[in-house]
Amino acid sequence: MTKAELTPNSFRNQPDERGHFGQFGGRYVAETLMPLVLDLEREYRAAKQDPAFKAQFDDLLEHYVGRPSPLYYAERLTEEVRKDAPAGKGAQIWFKRDELNHTGAHKINNCIGQILLAMRMGKTRIIAETGAGQHGVATATVCARFGLPCFIYMGAKDIDRQQPNVFRMRLLGAEVIPVTSGAGTLKDAMNEGLRDWVANVHDTFYIIGTAAGPHPYPELVRDFQSVIGTEARAQMLSRINRLPDLLVAAIGGGSNAIGLFHPFLDDKDVAMLGIEAAGHGLEKEHAASLAGGRPGILHGNKTYLLQDEDGQIAEAHSISAGLDYPGIGPEHSWLKEIGRVRYDNVTDVEALAAFQLLCRTEGIIPALEPAHAIAAVEREAKKMDRDQIILANLCGRGDKDIFTVAEALGTKI
């Protein structure tokens, strides 16, 4: 009997035994990796049943990462948005403050979980890919914490635009390996990560940074990131005794969004909005795979991809290195297709404006990734009543982005 038959009315029982979310997901990897991917799945199932694993994960999240992260009512931002809203409109804006985590983003939640799995499997060498560098920093951090050698693949173009994170990774003892193939961004870094993995399967664990890749990665990354939504749901109930009306999160691969959304998926009155990066605009260069792509197979899973009619993968563009990827986690593709989550997008220019708005109204410098979500929150809040509640995931802080933002605003620092 499949899990779906046991609980027919749930959106929270994916993927199926073969790692499929509807038609998406799966395990599209070379044969060399297949036995390892099957091992990982077995080990993950065992870890999920093991109270000691969960206890160690929870302990590290509390005392090392600093969880639970606060739930915050953004009063001044709410007021600011209400200024140009129609009468009676302007929903209350709340944030889940995952930018306050150790290392400055949600990425660490997943890295803690995966390094515990790696050690459980007896792996002694860690590799990862990174776009903005947040996942690279989080991976280098947990490797330093547990004393494992760490190799981070990073596109040469991303190394240029994320120098502070490159330096952080090196301080943490990681080797940052520049990737010059393709456009030198996240997708190319992921290709190199897979090439390393296939050549070092015996001792190497690949810590994938988003809820994508071959099964069971989309599932396990989602589960580790679900701490965001689980906490937020409990915090909302305890603070104001109700659930939010709308959840909003930015999406590159989609791990912060699925982490926020998943625990709420069966709360039928909670609407959800995922925000892709529209870059220079959907008719130009962008990174919105759901809006501008179609289903295909890349990096171990079937999902929406930016591609041409022959299935050649297109280069993505976003001002945010963390959103600059031509695919998306397979569970989002499924949630879009069944209509449970709505997806929209925000351009570079809109994200930059929202970035500055949050700095000035709340004294919070967000990363460019959640700045996309904030731009959408502004848009949505104006359409919603004042007693309604929007909860957005503030998934990263903007220290890493100040050089990019300065350049975009024409300021030299």
Binding site: R18, G26, R27, Y28, V29, A30, E31, T32, L33, M34, P35, L36, S181, G182, K187, M190, N191, L194, R195, V198, A199, N200, V201, H202, G296, I297, L298, H299, G300, L305, Q307, E309, D310, G311, Q312, I313
Partner: protein
């Protein structure tokens, strides 16, 4: 008897050669492979993200795509090859997305029309067979599966279920064209695989010299050479046919004398 089974029924082990479609003068290079004595030809379908390939084939993919090669060009190359060489088996090798983007049925039917004998898809493991396998089988196209050093005994029946044509043993856990496997590990692996299947076993990854090819030919039914040929195409550009023919002939001579 299919073209592929005939190629593995010759008095000597089969020489299987690879080039990337649309890289250099592909038609001339294909003719050079045949003239040099290739028994089976693998024609690589270029992909933007060839994550199982080393630098030589990655660069060939980029050169081909930059030259504007499309899937329809690749089938035209295959069909023209078939009309020039009615007997040499041609296998398309590549990645899942270009093969499945218009549907497995479309791909199998195009293979059929172009006279393609078999397909190797790097990133569709047996677990995802429904993407392509049923369509190829019903079109009479061989689906060639890969076994690797990480494929253990317990997994062999899964790998072989639905496989035909030949079994491709990837002799190193790694990407194409870099390391070579120790000959003793190849001997053991081939013996292990042959205990599970009557399909011919061809061994590839990292094979460069006639000596290596001859050593493999002593135990295997076929020897696959790819990156070394692709490097000749890179070096000689549009004039690679001569050097390719010469190099392939040297491999062929070594293989033919391997068991004598």
């Amino acid at each position: 008897m299919t073209r592929l089974s005939a190629a593995f029924n010759k008095p000597h082990p089969a020489l299987v050669t690879f080039i990337t479609a649309g890289d250099g003068n592909t038609a001339a290079n294909l003719d050079a492979l045949v003239a040099g004595g290739a028994d089976v030809i693998e024609l690589g379908m270029p992909f933007t993200d060839p994550m199982a390939d080393g630098p030589a084939i990655q660069e060939a993919n980029i050169r081909s795509l930059n030259a504007g090669t499309t899937t329809s060009d690749i089938f035209a190359i295959a069909a023209a090859f078939r009309s020039r060489h009615p007997d040499t088996p041609l296998v398309l090798m590549g990645y899942a997305n270009p093969m499945t983007i218009r549907g497995g049925d479309w791909f199998a039917s195009e293979c059929n029309k172009a006279g393609v004998d078999g397909v190797i898809c790097v990133d569709i493991p047996p677990e995802e067979d429904p993407e392509l396998g049923p369509w190829l089988r019903s079109a009479g196209i061989d689906l060639i599966r890969l076994a690797t050093p990480t494929t253990d005994e317990a997994r062999m029946p899964t790998v072989l279920n639905g496989a035909s044509g030949f079994l491709y043993y990837v002799s190193v856990a790694g990407i194409t064209g870099l390391q070579q496997a120790a000959q003793t590990s190849i001997d053991e692996a081939v013996a292990r695989l042959k205990a599970h299947t009557d399909l011919p076993v061809a061994v590839g990854f990292g094979v460069r010299t006639p000596e290596q090819a001859a050593n493999i030919a002593r135990v295997a039914d076929g020897v696959v050479v790819g990156s070394a040929i692709v490097e000749l195409v890179a070096e000689h550009g549009m004039n690679a046919a001569g050097p390719v023919r010469e190099y392939v002939a040297s491999l062929k001579a070594a293989i033919q004398s391997a068991r004598s």
